[in-house]
Symmetry: C2
Subunit: 388 residues, 2 copies
């Protein structure tokens, strides 16, 4: 099996650009990724594209070929939709095809245009990632669903809003150096606690923003990278995917995310590593509680202890295992279909010492990216390693 190399990455700024179309955003990200990679567009064998709400936000389906065209690529193109894990599933299929020799070069990524729908419209559109018959029609939205998960966590393991606030403070702190981040602004624990409640116990600053943006990756087989003498020191060495019941009422435990645990376990075995080998991680912190649940599902923290990780400094930039050095979904932003690919880009940059926050992880060799859909009914995990 071939190693899979990250040859190039490209991100648009994440933020409020309601007048830019998805194809406009993705084109920008791909221009950067191709330039970064040194790979010519003609060499792309297939396009793997993640998008979640294009039907509602842009009246546009069938985005695979449309986005290949926007990227200037003529190759088979498929759109993957797994809610907020859309790009994670796109990355995974690209990795499997590359390492099995089906293709040599993949353009992978995703984009989302959301803010043109307005806050209420986008919140409604996001809700279709939940079970329409049993959750959405009962009034459930994602802040409410994650608030239930947070309450269940507090009930079982303890912790409080202050603990969660430290997650938000950490991720904003990390984003200060990220010029593509939606928020480059320091916040305090008091800021988080005093912000308006969205769905108790989650407040405005416990929640990621609505974002427009795109991410693109040029991935190649090791053979292609060697043959073309690419500067591509980071490999994707592990991939895993997990699934769970869609609606929260179907879950055995509201404060656990077994889909992420299964994806992580598969990715660890695939890469031949242990959770303790992970030097840094980008995890899916759509809400502060989501980062806590991810740490525990990925065995980066024992069950019941993830809640104190940010507060006690274990996951801060200078901690043992820095988490979301990019700023995470919380501060970097969360253009849904782009997120899973943007995480891979951030981890690759951090591991190749080409990131403003690389100074915090000088010796890092292994990074992880965790992308989740809905209330983690879908999850993908990828392990990245420096090869030189």
């Amino acid at each position: 099996m071939s190693d899979v190399r990250v040859a190039g990455t490209g991100l648009t700024p994440f933020g409020n650009t309601p007048d830019r179309t998805g194809r406009d955003l993705f084109a920008e990200a791909t221009i950067a990724a191709f330039e970064d990679s040194g790979v010519p567009r003609e060499d792309v064998d297939a396009v793997f594209y993640g998008n979640f709400m294009g039907e509602l936000a842009e009246h546009q389906g069938h985005q695979g070929p449309l986005m290949a065209e926007a990227a200037g690529v003529r190759a088979p193109a498929t759109r993957y939709e797994s809610a907020c894990a859309s790009a994670g599933t796109a990355v995974r299929d690209a990795v499997l095809q590359l390492r099995n020799g089906e293709i040599d070069v993949a353009l992978v990524g995703g984009a989302e245009r959301m803010t043109n729908l307005g806050t209420a419209g986008a919140t409604e559109a996001l809700a279709i990632a939940a079970d329409d018959l049993w959750e959405v029609r009962a009034g459930a939205t994602f802040p409410g669903a994650y608030a239930l998960m947070a309450r269940a966590y507090f009930e079982e393991y303890g912790g409080d809003r202050t603990d969660l606030a430290h997650v938000a403070v950490k991720n904003h702190e990390n984003a200060l150096t990220n010029e593509k981040a939606q928020y480059q602004s320091e916040i305090s624990v008091d800021d988080v606690l005093e912000a308006p409640l969205v769905s108790e116990p989650l407040g405005l600053y416990d929640s990621c923003p609505l974002s427009d943006g795109a991410a693109a990756l040029v991935l190649t087989s090791q053979e292609y990278a060697d043959e073309h003498d690419l500067d591509a020191p980071v490999a994707i060495t592990g991939s895993g995917q997990g699934g769970d019941r869609m609606a929260l009422h179907g879950r055995a435990h509201l404060a656990r995310t077994p889909a992420a645990r299964e994806a992580g376990a598969e990715a660890y075995v695939d890469a031949g590593i242990e959770p303790s080998d992970v030097d840094l991680a980008e995890v899916h912190d759509c809400f502060t509680i989501a980062e806590v649940l991810a740490l525990e599902a990925l065995d980066l923290e024992p069950i019941g202890e993830g809640i104190s990780a940010a507060r006690d400094g274990r996951t801060t930039a200078n901690g043992e295992t820095p988490v979301n050095l990019s700023g995470g979904l919380k501060a970097k932003g969360h253009p849904v279909g782009a997120t899973g690919a943007s995480q891979i880009a951030e981890v690759a940059k951090l591991l190749s010492r080409d990131h403003p926050n690389s100074e915090h992880v000088e010796d890092a060799r292994i990074g992880l990216a965790h992308n989740a859909g809905g209330t983690v009914a879908s999850a993908t995990v990828h392990v990245l390693e420096v090869t030189r």
Copy 2:
């Protein structure tokens, strides 16, 4: 590389069932597929699900995990969306993962609920498979787009509405024995010619209907099939995918579909066969002209001669290479997200002599399934072979 076996197939009736949800339809198809296969649900490693317009027709995204749940399966699940080729891309990724040993058992399929939107609503929803900025906003719908392709064909190669009518007559004739078909009714060339025009030169009977329905396949590795002594004589031995510019104005030639040609060429090489080896085919006849274009793109007919294939009997049930023995999209129906999987089911049944139309293809060993998205901006082709 492992052979990929078709262990079981299941189809709902295709037709007008606007009150049945997508999950209801898919559950029915999967019950039949599991029963047909003898494979227990617990053995499924991954779910590959095709759906096109769930966001618009059912206010439901993130259908991967939802449909795994409907099927009674706990496994990672991904939704593939490539417009009318959605299930084709799902089949393709399942085939690649199976033959490369990533998984042993896949549940593959798709569903679509369309008729609840009404004719105008469904036509509008279908239009998002075209380019919203450059086609849809200019008033383009798919009957119009395929009418342009038909006119371009007539202009360049000759042919007329009567030639196309023979395609519709043939496919209705084939559907007479298909109890799951939306239409089990004979029609004449005069019926087709006298039907109301939808978009000249295409009339009502040149067009496939709006349909609700689902299709499911249980696919396994050869090793799994052997080990469990499954009755699974048909293998998927070739897979190909092609892509093209999304909007018709970007195409070099309105009467050719290079995405299908590329998908076919890849699938033929993959299977190690020539087009002349194909004994029967299910092709994507969303409109009569689409069948003609598919035959030529797949090298089953020379360029400019596909138009006469049905009229002259080369593709009829007793012809040299029967095409759409199921009735095709035209008479069997076209629940968009299900179609690509239903074609595989039909070909597998025909090749294993377990189909009411098997009598017409007693010696058939090699079948082909061609699934297309939009005006063939996406296409997948699969080759199936009897192994015993």
